[in-house]
């Protein structure tokens, strides 16, 4: 089945630093989403980016479909960015997402 691998598993940042999170997947993705999971557990969709580059706020995602990889760049990190970032793909439209295990980000002042 599909597999999604994320790296690094964890990341420690000082406030203001930038970060780059990686997502590699084993098969063609017709949809790719990046999620933020708060320490309290809620899941928030950050970006939908099956190909190309997309921006929202301080986040930039770049997906290279042929190479089966995506990245999420966080610029000027803030303590409120602390949490887990999840990458998920859909192989066939309308079917469920396959998730990676996430990157845990900790931002200290």
């Amino acid at each position: 089945g599909q597999q999604v691998q994320q790296s690094p598993a964890s990341l420690v940042l000082q406030e203001g630093e930038n970060a780059e999170l990686q997502c590699n997947f084993s098969s063609t993705a017709t949809q790719l989403q990046w999620f933020y999971q708060s320490p309290g557990g809620s899941l928030v969709s950050l970006l939908s980016n099956p190909s190309g580059t997309k921006h929202t706020g301080r986040l930039t995602s770049t997906t290279v479909t042929k190479e089966r990889r995506s990245s999420l760049h966080i610029s000027s990190s803030q303590t409120t960015d602390s949490g887990t970032y999840l990458c998920a793909i859909v192989g066939n439209y309308a079917q469920g997402l396959t998730f990676g295990l996430g990157t845990r980000v900790s931002v200290f002042p």
Partner: protein
């Protein structure tokens, strides 16, 4: 306003008991999904639905049933709960009009004793 809601938010059940987790969405999406999240496994798909009256098996359907009585509601049913089903359960919705992006509810923490 929250577009995907789940109830209950927390539940303690006994082994062998029946548990029903409910999900409601106001996004008017055709598709709905149930996932569970466990340490070391991440989020995994249990069941999903293409619309009222339909249910499909996901990656880990054993021990679970699903029901989609309407566009808005999707339930996950544990007929005979076991301790291995202790987990956090998430419901989501999505469809072709938003390129199948999925939007998640707040989760239900289930403990089976």
């Amino acid at each position: 306003e929250a577009a995907v809601t789940q109830s209950p938010r927390n539940k303690v059940a006994v082994t062998g008991g029946k548990v029903t987790l409910s999900c409601n969405q106001t996004n008017n999406h055709n598709n709905m999904y149930w996932y569970r999240q466990d340490t070391g496994h991440g989020l995994r798909l249990i069941h999903y639905s293409y619309g009222a009256g339909s249910t499909e098996k996901g990656d880990i359907p054993d021990g679970y049933k699903a029901s989609r009585p309407s566009q808005e509601n999707f339930s996950l049913i544990l007929e005979l709960a076991t301790p291995s089903q202790t987990s956090v359960y998430f419901c989501a919705s999505g469809d072709s009009r938003n390129s199948y992006e999925q939007y998640f509810g707040p989760g239900t923490r289930l403990t089976v004793l």
